[in-house]
Symmetry: C2
Subunit: 136 residues, 2 copies
């Protein structure tokens, strides 16, 4: 089986709004970007890639050196970032200070807290303690 | 900024086909599942969660103990798993032996190989060497 995930993908049609949010609210630094198509961030030992689905559903030219297959989804995706209990409290305050709505905030029956909020594209973002999955 | 990603999400309407594929082709073991709604796998130090978007767009009951917000996307998502160059060659042979089509297989200009294929829902899956991102 695969040893780990290298790239996690979200979609956003407005990549400028996404860049502003992920950089200025969540503190990411742009790894690379291509106007109107993609916006890449490093997150820990992997990558968070945000694509404009209107661009990625267009096939690469037949003679492309890099024939990346088409992909792209519409709707509201979901990603969860790892955080300790203390970090989640800090994130909640920080996100509210930035004017965001915390859509949910609860403890799981098995122990561990999650908070949920939205990026500008409506993707459902979460901070959770790894112990909700028995992870460290 | 977030220290890492805890949950990566894909969507599939046919979760039985997804379970068969992720378990018998990719070698995952089911962490937990809920018929018609979700199918969860551990992958390294994080989780790969596959949801039926028709179920996750339905709001939780107002009095729910676990008011997980709605999410759900239609189309073809994308996830990339990490693998060494040697592992990618093994995966290619294994996937072809299972009857899958390798949709693309190339070296990136910065060094490192990617192969692409599809899950039964049409999600675009990839194995890539972490060095394509300067990661180990």
């Amino acid at each position: 089986m695969p040893s780990g995930i290298l790239e996690t993908i979200l979609y956003a049609e407005d990549l400028e709004a996404a860049e502003d949010f992920y950089c200025h609210v969540l503190g990411f630094k742009v790894f690379s970007k291509q106007h109107g198509r993609q916006l890449f961030f490093r997150c820990g030992d992997q990558m968070l890639l945000i694509f404009n689905p209107n661009a990625t559903v267009v096939p690469a030219p037949a003679d492309s050196r890099l024939p990346v297959p088409v992909h792209g989804a519409l709707g509201h995706g979901h990603v969860c970032f790892r955080a300790s209990g203390v970090e989640i409290s800090s994130w909640r305050k920080h996100l509210e200070d930035k004017g965001l709505t915390i859509e949910a905030d609860f403890e799981w029956p098995q122990g561990g807290r999650s908070i949920y909020f939205r990026d500008p594209a409506g993707n459902c973002l979460e901070f959770a303690e790894p112990r909700i999955w028995g992870l460290e």
